[in-house]
């Protein structure tokens, strides 16, 4: 597969690295020597040093034969224009990074498709969705819904209160039990559990379940006493904060602490509800946090551009008694460190954007894919085609590659959990959890 990426910025380079590892022909275009030299020495890809706005550059880079064209420069207009150009030259699919939520309006999206922009990606919005979901269920680290919640995957940190610790899974998850543990993250390791594995204290367990059993899961992990999030303090009023507040439910009262006064005024223009209060100050200022009622706040979300600041602020908030903290960590090297500090949810826009773009690499059968950064794993939803491998045998006979497990299926809009004896039928949506494995290896099972 030939992939052309424009813009060797954070997302572009991250994607280029991922894709070049997976044996794709990757071309990275940028007009800056330094940005390119950082990556071209270490990874197996081609770099083109030229202005991305010139059609000559595109010919040089072979955009005409590209299966996927990804424009991820910081300049939204450049991204859109280059996508239009690439499509006109013959690229099969194009993706443009944007920073305007209005472009997701169905009418505008349709128009964009008409002029050659297949998909739009707005990393801040992806991050915002994750943040808002996390706050809605504060006792959950990660939540991912399939088919509007017919199936749900929950990543939960196990504490002393959990009832299910230290028991072999074969005793815990019987075929008839209402949940399925698809993965365990223990320290730095991700385990695809077998029957003899046990859950231990401080593991993050990934449960696959259906909507009506979410309260049951909450009971068995001992998180009933977690207060629901009503008051939120957000530090840093960037685009992510704006989108996240827009997605939060009505009952949540939000305070955004921002250091730049001009940005505070701007925030008031962008956010149009009374439940949000914008405060000019520094989120690391303890006195300010006390004044603004940190004691009465259930969630602290640190979204400044500086990973260190976010991590430290979240640690402070934890110490002040905030249960749920969310930190945006853009620096990959810090992610695992932040995890080990027990910081709660970690948001990385680059990883989110990259996982989203993965979707476009696979064929159209994959509807939905989500990258779990902390577990270094993907959860993807495939549709089983008639006559495909998965429909021919029962699940335990399939011989799925190591590191993958089937979490559940959605049949006729209804979520079902899967055990070894389940027979998958054509048309089912199958949710697969895969750790450290390339998605395309799975595709052939479903075609």
């Amino acid at each position: 597969m030939k992939i052309v990426i424009v813009g060797a910025y954070a997302i572009g380079t991250h994607l280029a690295k991922l894709l070049s590892r997976n044996d794709h022909d990757t071309v990275l275009i940028d007009s800056d020597v330094e940005r390119l030299s950082n990556i071209s020495n270490d990874y197996d890809l081609m770099t083109v040093l030229a202005s991305p706005s010139r059609s000559k550059t595109f010919k040089e880079a072979g955009v005409g034969h590209a299966d996927l064209f990804i424009a991820v420069t910081p300049d939204e207009n450049m991204n859109l224009t280059s996508c239009v150009l690439a499509k006109a030259l013959g690229a099969k699919r194009t993706v443009a990074k944007i920073d305007n939520n209005e472009y997701f309006d169905p009418k505008i999206k349709e128009y964009f498709e008409g002029i050659g922009i297949t998909s739009l990606i707005y990393p801040e919005k992806l991050a915002a969705v994750d943040i808002a979901n996390g706050l809605k269920m504060s006792w959950v680290r990660q939540r991912w819904d399939v088919h509007d919640g017919a199936l749900t995957m929950l990543g939960i940190k196990l504490r002393e209160t959990a009832e299910i610790l230290d028991q072999p899974l074969k005793d815990l998850c019987k075929p008839e039990s209402p949940y399925h543990i698809v993965a365990i993250k223990r320290g730095k390791e991700t385990i695809i559990p077998r029957g003899e594995d046990v859950l231990k204290l401080k593991d993050i367990a990934y449960f696959m379940t259906t909507r009506q059993y979410i309260p049951y899961i909450r009971t068995i992990v001992g998180k009933e006493r977690y207060a629901d999030v009503k008051n939120v303090i957000i530090m840093g009023g960037g685009a992510t904060a704006v989108r996240a507040t827009a997605l939060m439910p009505e009952y949540m009262k939000v305070k955004i602490i921002e250091t730049d006064e001009a940005r505070c005024e701007k925030l008031n223009e962008l956010i149009d509800t009374d439940r949000v209060m914008v405060i000019h100050g520094d989120g690391r200022d303890l006195q300010l946090l006390h004044e603004e009622g940190i004691k009465n706040t259930q969630a602290f979300v640190a979204l400044t551009g500086n990973a260190e600041t976010n991590i430290l602020a979240c640690l402070t908030a934890k110490r002040l008694g905030v249960r749920k903290t969310v930190a945006m960590v853009e620096n990959f090297d810090y992610v695992s460190m932040a995890e080990s500090l027990d910081l709660g949810t970690i948001i990385n826009k680059k990883a989110l954007a990259a996982s989203y773009i993965y979707q476009m690499m696979l064929d159209a059968d994959v509807h939905n894919i989500h990258f779990l950064m902390s577990a270094n794993a993907d959860v993807a939803e495939f549709t089983a085609e008639p006559g495909s491998k998965v429909t021919r045998k029962k699940v335990f006979e399939l011989g799925l590659p190591k590191g993958t497990t089937i979490g559940g299926i959605v049949r006729n809009g209804e979520g079902m959990l899967v055990s070894g004896g389940t027979q998958i039928e054509a048309g089912d949506s199958v949710v697969v959890f895969c750790h450290d494995i390339e998605m395309s290896r799975l595709e052939k099972f479903f075609r």
């Binding site: 005024e265 925030l267 008031n268 149009d272 209060m277 914008v278 405060i279 000019h280």
Partner: protein, 485 residues
């Protein structure tokens, strides 16, 4: 320095327009063969002469207007218009005293509608129609009227518009001011015609319905009878008046968006309109209750006169269908508050304007919240738009000036021996261009003829300042206006 030539030239042209208006009344007077025909003919002659003199003074002027000249032009226009406008009263001898005649005319142009005449019915038709005409033209503004007819007249007409328009936010509904002016005048004309038709159907005579319609939509308040609308004792006329006063007190831009663009949602969600509606509802409810308890009115009568008086005061029209002097004093307080607040900006009404009340309320709310959250950045929102900090300061300055001016007038009048209740309501009435006063000495239905001469001049100035929203006039009295570059 101030470029007087352009001002002379524009005023000259404007005087021709005034002469044309007078000519209509002349035609009416001559047609009816009444004794004011000659007075009108002489007035037209003098006005045209005045126009020619100004034109001559302003010959070969360059057609560009600076901000300074725009403010001077607008104020001078209103003063000079009133000066020539009082000629028919003076010459015909119906109002022999110059002070009284000037007061009556400026009360007309500023759509205040207070009168020094004890017996309006004694005036001939031409004279009555002239009074009505001054209000109708003054309703949206003399210069604004001109922009609608002759957009090319004034070079910097946007500056003139901002000097004359009312309300803190000047919304254009069309990129070109000339077109905007035409649309607004069309709506105004449409309202007037509709109002006249309704009055006619409700049983008024042709002459009366025209006069009442023009003064109702201008939210002026001059009438052709001593007892105003109360003369008719007709509920249909009362409700027609209520409807059209209310509509004329709504922002014309909003009416345009609703009628011609079909944006009904916007109409309902407009925060100024909602406050306006709320105020009318609350004030009416209170007055109706008081009237039923205190004056033993039957419910429907109480509702009719209560609603009528509230809309009349809040839209700063000042017509009446019942003698509010007989009512309980608390109703006077409620009506005074209505007078102070006024209706929407961008309408023909005066007063402080509902949108400013919305803004001031939001500022107050924020100040109180800021005590608890000293570092919070709190926006002042009006219709989802954020009011910038500088506009908030302007708004509060305007509030201070408005209140200050009212208090100043109040003290001046008390010191000349006018009844205190009358003094404060007259001050509010003139600053808000309402018309009637409430009090013990002069009732709402009575004329202001007995006021001392000095007070009349003071009130003339106050009416003008109220109409032009104070700063346009006050800036002319600053040293910087004349001295600095």
């Amino acid at each position: 320095m101030v470029n007087f030539k352009i001002i002379y030239k524009v005023i000259g042209t404007l005087l021709f327009i005034e002469a044309a208006m007078m000519l209509i009344c002349t035609g009416l007077a001559v047609y009816l063969g009444e004794d004011d025909s000659l007075a009108f003919i002489v007035s037209v002659f003098l006005t045209v002469l005045g126009g020619l003199i100004f034109k001559y003074l302003g010959r070969d002027s360059d057609n560009s207007l600076s901000r300074r000249e725009a403010y001077l032009l607008v104020t001078l226009t209103w003063i000079i218009f009133s000066l020539f406008g009082c000629l028919p009263f003076l010459i015909s001898g119906y109002i022999p005293d110059f002070t009284n005649a000037y007061f009556e005319t400026i009360s007309g142009f500023t759509t205040t509608g207070c009168s020094i005449l004890n017996d309006v019915e004694a005036l001939p038709h031409g004279m009555l129609f002239w009074r009505t005409m001054t209000q109708w033209i003054g309703g949206l503004g003399i210069v604004f009227f001109t922009i609608a007819i002759i957009p090319s007249l004034v070079g910097g007409n946007v500056k003139v518009f901002s000097a004359e328009a009312t309300g803190p936010i000047r919304a254009k509904m069309h990129p070109r001011l000339g077109t905007t002016a035409k649309w607004i005048w069309s709506i105004y004309a449409l309202l007037t015609v509709a109002c006249a038709a309704c009055y006619y159907l409700a049983g008024m005579g042709l002459f009366d319905c025209l006069n009442y319609a023009m003064t109702t939509t201008a939210t002026g308040g001059f009438s052709t009878h001593n007892a105003s609308t109360g003369y008719f004792h007709n509920p249909y006329i009362d409700y027609t008046a209520i409807t059209f006063m209310f509509l004329s007190g709504t922002s014309f831009t909003l009416l345009y968006a609703t009628i011609f663009k079909g944006r009904f949602r916007q109409f309902y969600h407009n925060s100024e309109f909602r406050l306006y509606l709320l105020l009318v509802a609350i004030a009416t409810a209170l007055i109706v209750t008081i009237l039923i308890i205190d004056n033993d009115y039957p419910f429907f009568d109480a509702l009719r006169v209560g609603l009528f008086q509230v809309t009349s005061f809040i839209t700063t029209t000042g017509i009446f269908n019942d003698d509010a002097a007989q009512w309980h004093h608390i109703t006077w307080v409620i009506l005074s508050i209505c007078m102070f607040i006024g209706a929407s900006s961008g309408s023909t009404s005066g007063g402080f304007k509902c949108i400013r009340v919305v803004m001031v309320t939001n500022i107050l709310k924020n100040e109180i919240r800021r005590i608890l959250h000293p570092r919070a950045v709190l926006p002042v929102r009006v219709n989802d738009n954020i009011v910038p900090y500088s506009s908030q300061v302007t708004l509060l300055a305007f509030l201070a000036a408005y209140v200050g001016l009212c208090i100043f007038t109040y003290f001046c009048m008390i010191s000349t021996g006018v009844d205190p209740t009358n003094s404060i309501t007259i001050a509010l009435s003139c600053a808000g261009n309402v018309g009637p006063t409430l009090g013990l000495e002069i009732g709402p239905t009575m004329s202001w003829g007995i006021l001392p001469m000095g007070v009349k001049w003071l009130l003339s100035g106050l009416m003008l300042m109220g109409r032009l929203e104070i700063f346009t006039v006050v800036v002319l009295f600053t040293r910087a206006f004349w001295k600095e570059n």
